[in-house]
């Protein structure tokens, strides 16, 4: 059974279309990275999946309609939408009490065990914690819930690199067990690349690329080619090209790797480069810079 099944989801705010036929299918046990430029509709898509906003079209999460069945859905889904949404007046001990009081699948001992590895004190209020510690606290609360789906919307925005790394390491080592599904959206593509099993690029309210990480490796290739063979490489229709240290770096979609290998060094492109290749053309940076 697929965990998230979105077909033709539309959502607009006044004249602005945020989701324009959003289409996505996420299987159980996957870790999906939702990647897109600012204003692409990532947060809107996640909010629709979590039953926070009404939408048009068909969207099922764990077989439930998120808008109509949010209460039931939230017993099996956890999310961290944005950093620092924990109420600032709340004490850590109150957060633990409250979670245990309203969530049937919250394991307080587990949350305490996670917190014991941080410098967060039970009696501290959220407002007294640093931004990184608030993120640690929220993650500790969320990881102590035995949920089937965890949704993270820019969970590490504004945190320093050490906290970001600890956050994702913790998520992968302590939480992910192959049965749970995780959907994460972030701008820091390169930092989450290694934990993902699937990736979806979203642009202007639509999914423009939806693939497993293995699928990316077979489909896309990155070629580093010297100026002498650049024209021959261009004949193979790269989707993106830029200069790196006097050589050309080109990204190909569905090209024959053997043919490319004759022209230069072939690798699998990183997510960040691929993201730029797929999304950048409409931004037309070169034209404006010239």
């Amino acid at each position: 059974m697929s965990c998230i099944e979105a077909r033709g989801v539309f959502k607009s705010y006044g004249k602005t279309t945020a989701l324009n036929g959003f289409q996505l299918s996420v299987g159980e046990g996957r870790i999906l990275g939702l990647i897109g430029p600012n204003g692409a509709g990532k947060s809107t898509a996640l909010m629709a999946m979590l039953g926070l906003i009404p939408f048009d079209g068909s969207l099922k999460v764990l077989g439930l309609d998120p808008w109509k069945e949010r209460g039931a859905l939230m017993e099996q889904v956890c999310f961290i939408a944005d950093v620092a949404v924990l109420p600032r007046w709340m004490k850590v001990s109150q957060a633990l009490d409250y979670m245990g009081g309203v969530h049937p699948r919250f394991d307080r001992a587990k949350a305490e065990a996670f917190l014991a590895r941080t410098s967060i004190k039970r009696e501290s209020k959220v407002r007294e914690l640093s931004k990184g510690m608030v993120a640690q606290l929220h993650l500790s609360l969320v990881m102590a819930v035995d949920a089937r789906l965890l949704v993270l919307d820019e969970p590490t925005l504004g945190l320093d690199i050490l906290y970001r790394k600890a956050f994702y390491d913790s998520l992968l080592n302590d939480y992910f067990d192959g049965g749970r599904t995780i959907v994460v959206s972030t701008h820091q593509v390169d930092e989450i690349e290694h934990i993902l099993t699937d990736v979806a690029f979203i642009d202007r309210g639509q999914v423009v690329l939806d693939s497993s990480m293995e699928g990316l490796e077979t489909r896309f290739a990155e070629l580093l080619v010297g100026p002498d063979k650049a024209d021959a490489a261009r004949a193979l229709n790269p989707i993106h090209e830029r200069q790196v240290f006097g050589r050309q770096l080109m990204i190909f979609d569905g090209a024959d790797r053997k043919a490319l290998a004759k022209l230069g060094e072939v690798r699998t492109p990183g997510l960040a480069d691929l993201f730029v290749a797929k999304i950048a053309p409409r931004f037309d940076m070169k034209g404006r810079a010239a």
Partner: protein, 303 residues
């Protein structure tokens, strides 16, 4: 921040435990009381001030008790009534402020994204918030006023004794039993009577991005002004006035018109209070407004 807790990343998961017994309404209410302590601190602080005034003015107590024994009980009863009235007004003001903030504040500080990530329905959340002014505050005021009155009685007994007077007449003629009766009947009654006002304020809180006070006050006032200009009638201000003060008139005066204040047990007339159709009209209106607040909370995004 000491260390970055590298081993935060290596916390070992513990064994799964059985599902918790959940009480979403109870914990939603607890959470409101954690955040909004002014709803009981304000009346408690005001009652403490009244008590202080009583202590400072207690040298006149033997004279007032003598007057009460002769039949004029007003002056000896006044401090008890003032303590009740002042605690009620403080609770009403802090309660109105609470109603205007409770649904807007969680959107403003974005904590709504945390509350909504938990299996608590919007209806439970809104009802728990409504229970603060309708249930918690009346109980808090009763407890605060009883404590204040008992402290006054104890201090009064002490003052009578050290001034070589018999404290007996104070307990006979200056005992606030009838004020307690008014309070026990009146505060729950007022909570019901004011339900539509509470619901209106919460609806505005669920709807307005900012300036909740202005949104709560200006539209009804404008409606009243327009009605006067167009039809030259006053139904809107009368309707609003009844919602705001009609309950108080029932509780504090005979006949429900605010003319003759209640003076004894015989003036408390439950049949008259409950048979006023305005009470029931208000409750129906409150149910509609609360339902609107639930729907708005469901739809509204953080601002």
């Amino acid at each position: 921040m000491s260390s970055l807790d590298a081993d935060f990343a290596t916390a070992a998961p513990t064994a799964m435990t059985a599902a918790n017994k959940v009480r979403p309404f109870y914990w939603s209410l607890r959470r409101e009381l954690w955040e909004h302590r002014s709803i009981w601190i304000a009346p408690a602080a005001v009652a403490a001030l009244i008590l202080l005034g009583y202590l400072l003015g207690s040298f006149g107590l033997p004279r007032r008790v003598a007057q009460a024994a002769a039949g004029a009980t007003e002056r000896v009863m006044l401090p008890y009534a003032v303590a009740l009235g002042a605690a009620f007004i403080a609770a009403a003001l802090s309660g109105a402020y609470y109603c205007l903030t409770c649904l807007q504040g969680e959107r403003r500080d974005r904590s709504i994204l945390f509350w909504k990530s938990l299996p608590v329905s919007d209806r439970t959340a809104v009802l728990a918030k409504a229970a603060v002014p309708m249930v918690v505050q009346p109980l808090a005021v009763i407890a605060i006023v009883l404590a204040t009155h008992l402290a006054m009685l104890a201090w009064g007994t002490f003052v009578m004794l050290i001034s070589n007077n018999n404290p007996g007449p104070m307990w006979v003629h200056g005992f606030p039993g009838f004020i307690w009766a008014v309070m026990f009947v009146g505060l729950p009654y007022l909570a019901l009577w004011h339900a539509p006002v509470i619901a209106w304020l919460m609806l505005v809180s669920a709807w307005a991005r900012r300036a909740t006070f202005l949104w709560a006050v200006i539209p009804p006032v404008m409606l009243a002004v327009m009605e006067r200009m167009v039809f030259d009638t006053r139904h809107v201000p009368e309707f609003i006035g009844t919602r705001l003060l009609g309950g108080l008139a029932h509780v504090a005066s005979t006949g429900g018109y605010g003319q003759v204040p209640v003076r004894g047990f015989r003036d408390i007339d439950l049949t008259r209070m409950l048979s006023d159709p305005n009470l029931w009209i208000g409750l129906v209106l409150a149910a509609l407004l609360f339902e609107g607040a639930v729907r708005l909370r469901r739809r509204r995004e953080p601002n």
